[in-house]
């Protein structure tokens, strides 16, 4: 029998832009995932020089049962005047694994996000029929969409969206002080360090400096 590729029911693959313009939304997605008891996975964690990038992505996508795909970045790159195709490619790999993979891969669930709900019809119309959610470019809306979707697909009881947003605001207020205290760039913390700051903060009970 061929090996069935396992998927982790805790792991959520984030497929989104990693640039400065998108940073607040990226952080909000990571926040929602960890605060809901899941684990964020993204191409940002790939640092193994022994594999090609696409092989790393295959492995990462194979592992994750859940995937959040943000198609917001449709603008042309300012330098080269060309669009970025990485997000649609990674969405395609995820959909392919779900469609053609074994029984475990077929359990994959995905959330597609964009700025507007029906904008995709102008640039990726083959997705017609798939429910696409809009975050309007707002981190708090992205948290709500992520939380509601995770609750739906995992059937777990999760903290409410309003509570998560209140906590997110607190975390955003504390993060610059925390980053300074641990010696991390507060403006653009590396992904790996941001995850540690977030999980450490979530573990800690509410305190005066933490609120």
């Amino acid at each position: 029998l061929a090996r069935q590729a396992a998927t982790s029911p805790e792991d959520v693959f984030i497929n989104c832009p990693f640039d400065e313009q998108f940073r607040a939304l990226f952080h909000a997605l990571i926040f929602a995932i960890y605060a809901c008891g899941f684990r964020a996975r993204s191409a940002r964690e790939l640092d193994d020089g022994g594999q090609t990038r696409i092989d790393k992505l295959y492995g990462l996508i194979e592992t994750c049962r859940y995937g959040i795909h943000d198609l917001s970045r449709t603008e042309l790159d300012k330098t080269h005047r060309l669009p970025r195709f990485n997000m649609p490619l990674e969405l395609g790999i995820f959909l392919g694994a779900k469609r053609y993979g074994g029984s475990r891969q077929k359990q994959k669930r995905l959330l597609i996000l964009d700025i507007e709900q029906y904008r995709y019809q102008k640039f990726i119309s083959d997705l017609a029929g798939i429910d696409i959610h809009a975050h309007d470019g707002e981190p708090e809306q992205a948290i709500t969409e992520t939380r509601d979707w995770l609750a739906n697909v995992s059937r777990r009881q999760l903290p409410g969206a309003h509570k998560l947003i209140r906590l997110y605001r607190r975390f955003v207020r504390v993060m610059p002080k925390l980053a300074k205290e641990v010696g991390v760039d507060a403006k653009s913390p590396p992904y790996v360090d941001f995850e540690r700051m977030l999980t450490g903060w979530l573990l800690d009970a509410a305190g005066s400096a933490r609120s």
Partner: protein, 64 residues
């Protein structure tokens, strides 16, 4: 007629399996009531322990 012997495969826990290797619960968040999972990424310059220690330091400063 002699009795027949049936062989049953012994059930064993899959403790060394995928879940054990990939899931690491750091604890439960008092803020959200959910489990907090350890990040899978490598190469961080700070640890979760250092972050928690820094939070205590910030708390101590705020209390003064």
């Amino acid at each position: 007629m002699g009795h027949t012997m049936t062989l049953k495969a012994k059930k064993t826990a899959h403790t060394g399996g995928f879940a054990a290797r990939h899931k690491k619960v750091l604890g439960r968040s008092a803020l959200t009531g959910t489990r907090v999972l350890a990040p899978a990424s490598k190469g961080a310059t700070v640890s979760v322990r250092q972050v928690r220690s820094a939070l205590r330091t910030l708390d101590a400063h705020a209390a003064k």
